[in-house]
Amino acid sequence: MARTLLTIPKTAQRGEVIEIRTLIAHKMDPGYLPDSQGQRIPRDIIQRFACRYNGEQVFSAELFPAVSANPYLVFYLVAAESGTLEFEWQGDNGFTQTERVPITVT
């Protein structure tokens, strides 16, 4: 399980636009670099990121090798109802990780 850093407001007003910041530890090998022996390191990146708000997808991203290591994404959501925000990352070599964070909307 890669380490993740998720910044979400603990509470929000109904209808307020909130900022979500996500960071996940991942090498994001682009597939163009040689290792110490001179062999090309194969591509190993996170390709997809999705954010689901109470089950409904509200944001998604398709990432390519040009995204830096430890992919950092900042996006926005409308705080509609209390519930769970689910963040999912999928990548090469079967990499998949899901994190769930509760959100309280008053």
């Binding site: 991203a61 995204v67 830096s68 900042v74 926005y76």
Partner: protein, 180 residues
């Protein structure tokens, strides 16, 4: 320039490779592949992996943007692509794209895509939004192999495409200079 010299060398090397045993008989005037030819071919191939003629890459960028838009017109405007003009470390370049949009069900941004000019691949990232996004804005960190142009293309819910470009000067290239 070295790049323009690369093509004649490749063609000459190919003709030599295609007839390895008979090269001496068929071309008595030219010498057998010497060390200098092999080195030049190697440098040409290695250089070709990352540095390619600028015109070809600019065409590829417009082709990538056109393919993303599915042939629809991509108009400059409405999109704001924010990136530093001078970047010290090409491995971690903060980039922000935002579109001024009410983000209602009737009028919102559906996607934002970022393309580049001179990395090995044109695509950088593609993001999908909806009315529940609240704000059509995304930030991330990207890799840039050299000083180049970036293009951000936004698709609106009415099917129109808008774009913004930015020129970035990169001091330390990602993946070529130093560590990744």
């Amino acid at each position: 320039m070295k790049l323009s010299m690369k093509l004649p060398l490749e063609r000459r090397a190919n003709s030599l490779e295609s007839s390895p045993t008979s090269s001496r008989e068929n071309h008595p005037a030219s010498p057998a592949p010497g060390r200098r030819d092999v080195l030049a071919l190697g440098v040409g191939l290695a250089g070709a992996a990352f540095v390619r003629p600028a015109a070809a890459q600019a065409d590829e960028l417009t082709a990538a943007v056109a393919a993303h838009a599915g042939g629809a017109a991509v108009r400059p405007g409405r999109v704001k692509l924010e990136v530093a003009k001078l970047v010290d470390n090409g491995n971690v370049v903060p980039v922000s794209v935002s579109v001024d949009s009410p983000m209602t069900a009737a009028d919102h941004v559906t996607s934002i895509a970022i393309f580049n000019e001179k990395n090995p691949q044109r695509d950088i990232a593609k993001f999908a939004f909806g009315p529940r996004s609240g704000k059509a804005s995304v930030s991330t960190r990207i890799r840039l192999a050299t000083s180049q142009k970036l293009v951000a293309v936004a698709r609106l819910s009415d099917g129109s495409y808008w774009s913004d470009t930015a020129d970035v000067i990169v001091v330390l290239a990602a993946c070529i200079d130093g560590e990744a």
